[in-house]
């Protein structure tokens, strides 16, 4: 009898072991139900990495709007912070690569270097313009504009769009959802927000970027799952676990642990504070004991699913394919691995293929 009870307890509480974060607040937030965690449309989520940056400047309003009309489920802002505490939507800590700042002579003497290496991230800026060395207004007044980071991509829109603050991105998404609501979707098109360099900003610049983000979400009344579900679905992602632990102590919004290919991660630990992972795509192919293949479910994804975590790998780039020679095959390969979402720079292309595979599945069901 005891054995039966023991087994029963083991079976029933398997979940609570997985989420057993020592901190009760984090534990409770982790276990909160999130209506939009899984895509109700019966296909993986399409998350537009830096907006539709395959065809438009990274993190420009145009990239976000185009992604929106392309049918993306989320736009994906990265966050930096200016000298005066403004959350600046930009991937890099420094500005040469994706703006026209090198053309602005008034900033010639403001160049600097950054080298910040931790076990989770590496940031390096050489003779560059660091976002945190400037105030927001001086950048805007100087005519700072964003550009596409790849030489081979469309540069027609370079220098047309100024950068956005997080507030601009939030307001843009709220407005797009209101003025041009997507037909037949259960949830609005949301924001998948990355905190970058949390430790750098804290340790070297004495600013808590995670807290500023939380305060901004609170200002827009988006800081709980309940509110986000109604107004603007939000995910919080980071390479740095401290950031996600902070968020899970403040809110039940879903958190996603990003994973680079150069670190060992404890998935059980991650699942105690994280609703999902965002691994580099190589994780789907190279787990121990797994033969490289393009069409079988990924052991890694299966493990994450056992731990009740969604998997959103990065980054699908139609012009820089890894596993195949065309974007349609690439999407299908990731789908065969079992992913729950895609970080993609070509949301329309990715969504097209997912709609196709979905209708093929439905066709098969009808036949059966």
């Amino acid at each position: 009898m005891k054995l039966v009870i023991l087994i029963a307890i083991l079976l029933i509480s398997k979940h609570s072991w997985a989420y057993d974060n020592p901190d009760p607040v984090i534990r409770e937030n982790r276990n909160a139900e999130i209506p939009y965690l899984e895509n109700p449309e019966g296909r993986p989520y399409v998350v537009s990495h830096r907006g539709a940056c395959g065809t438009l400047p990274d993190h420009s309003t145009a990239a976000y709007a185009t992604a929106y009309f392309d049918g993306t489920d989320f736009d994906e802002p990265d966050l930096q912070v200016t000298k005066d505490g403004v959350l600046f939507v930009m991937h890099n800590l420094c500005m040469k690569e994706t703006t026209n700042i090198a053309d602005l002579p008034q900033f010639d003497d403001r160049r600097s270097d950054v080298l910040h290496i931790t076990n989770e991230t590496t940031f390096k800026c050489t003779d560059d313009y660091i976002v945190n060395d400037f105030t927001w207004q001086e950048l805007i007044d100087a005519g700072l504009k964003v550009r596409n980071r790849y030489k081979s991509r469309n540069h027609f829109y370079d220098d047309l769009y100024p950068p956005m603050r997080l507030e601009n991105a939030i307001e843009l998404m709220l407005e797009l959802n209101e003025k041009s609501p997507k037909q037949g979707r259960k949830f609005k098109t949301g924001l998948y927000i990355e905190t970058k360099a949390v430790r750098f900003y804290k340790e070297k610049r004495n600013v808590d970027i995670a807290k500023i983000l939380y305060d901004t979400l609170e200002k827009y009344d988006l800081h709980t799952v309940e509110k986000a579900t109604e107004k603007l679905p939000i995910f919080i992602e980071s390479f740095e676990q401290d950031s996600l632990l902070y968020f899970k102590s403040k809110t039940d919004l879903p958190t996603v642990q990003l994973m680079t290919s150069s670190i060992e991660y404890d998935l059980d630990w991650i699942s105690s504070y994280s609703n999902g992972v965002g691994p580099k795509h190589t994780y789907m192919f190279n787990q121990e004991g797994e033969d490289f293949n393009l069409d079988k479910p990924s052991k890694f994804v299966e493990r994450c699913h056992e731990l009740d975590m969604k998997v959103h790998p990065y980054v699908l780039q139609d012009d820089i394919l890894v596993y195949s020679e065309d974007p349609i095959d690439e999407v299908k390969i990731w789908e065969a691995k079992g992913v729950d979402g895609y970080f993609t720079e070509f949301p329309q292309s990715t969504l097209n293929t997912l709609l196709y595979t979905k209708s093929q599945r439905e066709l098969t069901l009808i036949k059966e």
Partner: protein, 366 residues
């Protein structure tokens, strides 16, 4: 000698021009041509520079300008004869009293302007100085870019394409990305407004040294398309540039006559499914296309719109269906999407059977 009978145009100049070989008539890549209808107008304002640039980088083989003409004889790239639908002209109060009506209805073409602003009633300078901006003709495609881009003259479009090809040449392409130019309302402009828009187009091409197939093949591939046969007959008396007869489903066309002056046909897509009593189907070659091919004409139907699909519930299935009909090119408003799907099914065909007869539909690959 079947060919001589088919191309037997009574006018020897037309016959000679018709029989000139056009190096870029067929896509050397072995997939249908992707012709960006009004540019990448699925995502950007119709006929804006942005739309053309995006289509270029999306890999379109051609951008596709429609032409209208201003009061002072400037060729403007615009689909409609009047400007309400695809510009912000209604917001420009200085033009409030310039509204008018115009209707044209012939067996070849139709347009209706009601309480609208006719391009031909304005000079180019007036339009430029007024702050006129292009917008997407479909509200559901979004208003984000609506106040950003001014209309182009044909010269601007040509300069732009030459510049793009020069600065960012497409890799692995035999020919540069060209222009597929439509003359619209040729009869209306001639009869009602006393201006010969076809002649103006020819002169602009001459100015840019693009008025023959030899020059175009090197510098900027050109097609001339029209619903109005007079326009194409005019061009075929002046040049050997390829001409394409557009077709709509409200008219009967004598294909033997068409092939005597046109290198290709641009039918509405419905005509690929209902020609000559054929049984409606989604996966067998089109009788119309078979007939056109017999007569030595390529077929480029219009218009594929990812957000307004006709035969399927998603873009990939739609493209499979169009391709199964045997198209040689497609007018599309989503060039990136279309090109990606065409390349994908092309490589699948090679993988599966190595022949061009195979499509992706189960049963038809043997």
């Amino acid at each position: 000698m079947h060919q001589a009978l088919t191309y037997d145009h009574p006018n020897p100049v037309i016959m000679k021009n018709r029989n000139t070989e056009v190096p870029y008539m067929k896509n050397p890549e072995g997939i249908p041509y992707v012709i960006a209808h009004r540019g990448a107008s699925g995502q950007l304002p119709d006929h804006s520079a942005a739309s053309y640039a995006t289509a270029y980088y999306d890999g379109a083989h051609f951008n596709e300008p429609d032409l209208q003409v201003t009061k002072d004889g400037v060729l403007v790239v615009m689909h409609d004869e009047c400007m309400k639908s695809s510009t912000n002209i209604e917001d420009l109060t200085q033009f409030a009293d310039r509204r008018t009506n115009a209707t044209v209805s012939t067996n070849e073409t139709y347009f209706e302007c009601i309480n609208d602003f006719l391009v031909n009633d304005f000079t180019w300078q007036e339009l430029v100085e007024s702050g006129l901006k292009l917008r997407s003709r479909y509200k559901e495609r979004g208003e984000f870019y609506n106040s950003l881009f001014a209309p182009m003259r044909l010269e601007d479009a040509i300069d732009f394409m030459l510049d793009l090809n020069d600065r960012s040449p497409r890799e692995n392409r035999k020919f540069k990305t060209g222009l597929y130019i439509e003359t619209k309302s040729v009869g209306f402009y001639k009869q009602e407004r006393n201006v010969d828009i076809a002649k103006l187009l020819y002169e602009v091409l001459e100015k840019y040294d693009l008025e023959t197939v030899e020059k175009a093949a090197k510098k900027l591939p050109i097609f001339i398309q029209s619903f109005e046969q007079d326009s194409l007959l005019y061009f075929k008396t002046k040049t050997n540039l390829p001409t394409v007869q557009l077709m709509w489903d409200e008219q009967e066309y004598d294909l033997e006559w068409v092939t005597s002056y046109a290198n290709g046909a641009g039918p509405k897509h419905t005509m690929l499914f209902n020609y000559d009593d054929e049984e409606y189907n989604l996966y067998k070659p089109s009788r119309l296309i078979e007939k056109c091919h017999e007569l030595g004409m390529q077929v480029h139907p219009y218009t594929l719109q990812d957000d307004k699909l006709v035969y399927a519930s998603n873009e990939i299935d739609e493209m499979i269906i169009w391709e199964a009909k045997g198209i040689d090119g497609v007018f599309t408003e989503f060039p990136r999407s279309t090109l990606s799907i065409l390349k994908h099914s092309h490589s699948n065909r090679i993988l599966l059977s190595g022949t061009d007869q195979c499509t992706l539909v189960e049963d038809s690959c043997t």
